[in-house]
Amino acid sequence: MVTVVVAPLLLVFFVKTLFDAAVIPGFDQARYVLLFGAYIVHFLTFVLTAIVLVRERVAETLERMFVNGYRQIEIVTGYLIGYTTLATVVSILVLTEIQLLFDLGYDLHQLAAVFVVFWLLAVVSMALGILVSNSARTEGQVFPCIPLVIVPSFIFAGIIVPVDQLPMWAQVISRLSPMYYANQVLQEIVAGETLATNVGAFVALPLYGVAVLALATLTLRQQS
């Protein structure tokens, strides 16, 4: 729990330090701070859940769950529900600290919309972590997969460079990360849109989440 609380607070502070030092003419802090905040949420929730099912597999409790009648969907959604508290805590901490450290001037509706996006991103990132965890038989196999998800999420999701300026193959990769969809929504919020006025952009992230959840459920194997 210390890691869950301290890590996001520290990381947002590090971003603040970086932005204060980045004296670049025309640098739009408001555009980037939410994206960095979203990335911190995505990073933490993904990494924390990427090893959970592998640990269950290694300890053989996963097999025992299956033999005792638990279904794949029950195990995956059970973990997601159990980690909802994590998603909520991380989202609240990151958003609160951003609001305190950066003078963004968002109204209550915009902040509420950002919280919803952060929370959805956290849940979807956890589903992605469970999916990655499914593919590994040992914790050692999970760790190399983490940068393969986290780094493309930062480079190709539109945080640094707009996605449409990337080569086509990179644009395809960008759509495999939940950060891409969260970025689309956050751009709409920064531009003054709400959840009600641009439904299309806001639906993409939860739809992506459902697809990842389905894949995580189908790929959850019993065999050790």
Binding site: E60, R64, M65, F66, V67, N68, G69, Y70, Q222, S224
Partner: protein, 286 residues
């Protein structure tokens, strides 16, 4: 015969390792069936196939008349599986562990079933303590409670007495016999040869093959005897079956020179070790 389990020609390999090779056996309902063999004999592999956790490469398996791999949910509602190690959540109490595994089978009446399972396993004192604080033997009892909380018809127990003291082993076998008496079928794997005597029938495995499938009495009767006959200063060692003894005595024309005849009867452990050892020699010569 009313069979709880039927295994016919089952083989399983992991890469180049042949874990099971043409295993065939039947287990009558309400009996205690032992799987005996050294480490790596294939006992755990066979049990995991029987609970549907693994698919056999070939052969036919039926548990309660159903294929356990293709019809997992049907089979698992009626079987319990106790893994070799006490697979439990260390941070949860004994009661919470048993309740968690119970909820995979049922959505109501969990508290009552959990209480009954804890009582059966004599866990009243340890029910509300985190599992990581419990000794290995008590953790085994928690694992047993989690295995039978849903009152299964068939129990698969993978080395349930490994690492526990003699007194607890004895109490475990009393519980197993009580379960069998109530109609539950038990398949118990062990590498402790003396536990074979508690079983109604035993299959001896080595390197994935069944060397013998018999009752403990039949196994014991198949053992031989070593007779030492001293005539004067010469001691003759004669290995024979009990029915050979009169012939040997006639050969020696039993007279006053014979001062002593000793018969050392093979124990059940000797018989099993002899079978395993001779199979190893045949494989070495081959």
């Amino acid at each position: 015969m009313d069979l709880a389990i039927s295994v016919e020609g089952v083989s399983k390999h992991f890469g180049e390792v042949e874990a099971l090779d043409g295993v065939t056996l039947d287990v009558p309902r309400g009996s205690i069936f032992g799987l005996v063999g050294p480490n790596g004999a294939g006992k755990t592999t066979l049990i995991r196939i029987l609970v549907g956790a693994l698919r056999a490469d070939s052969g036919a398996v039926q548990v309660q008349g159903v294929d356990p791999f293709t019809e997992k949910r049907r089979v698992r509602a009626h079987v319990g599986y106790m893994p070799q190690a006490p697979v439990l959540y260390g941070d949860l109490t004994s009661r919470e562990n048993v309740a968690f595994f119970a909820r995979g089978h049922m959505s109501s009446g969990v508290s009552e079933k959990v209480a009954a399972a804890l009582e059966f396993a004599d866990l009243s004192d340890a029910a509300d303590r985190p599992v990581y604080t419990l000794s290995g033997g008590i953790q085994q009892r928690v694992s047993l409670a989690a295995t039978l909380v849903h009152e299964p018809d068939v129990l698969f127990l993978d080395e349930p007495t490994a690492g526990i003291d003699a007194e607890l082993r004895h109490s475990f076998w009393l519980r197993f016999r009580r379960l069998a008496g109530s109609g539950v079928t038990l398949i118990v794997s062990t590498h402790q040869m003396d536990e074979v005597a508690h079983c109604d029938r035993v299959a001896i495995l080595r390197s994935g093959r069944i060397l013998a499938n018999a009752s403990p009495t039949e196994l014991f009767a198949s053992g031989g005897a070593t007779v030492r006959i001293r005539t004067g200063t010469i001691e003759h060692h004669v290995a024979l079956l009990p029915e050979d003894l009169p012939r040997i005595l006639r050969e020696f024309d039993l007279d006053t020179a014979v001062t002593r005849i000793e018969a050392e009867t093979a124990t059940l452990e000797d018989v099993i070790l002899g079978l395993i050892g001779s199979d190893g020699e045949e494989r070495g010569a081959g």
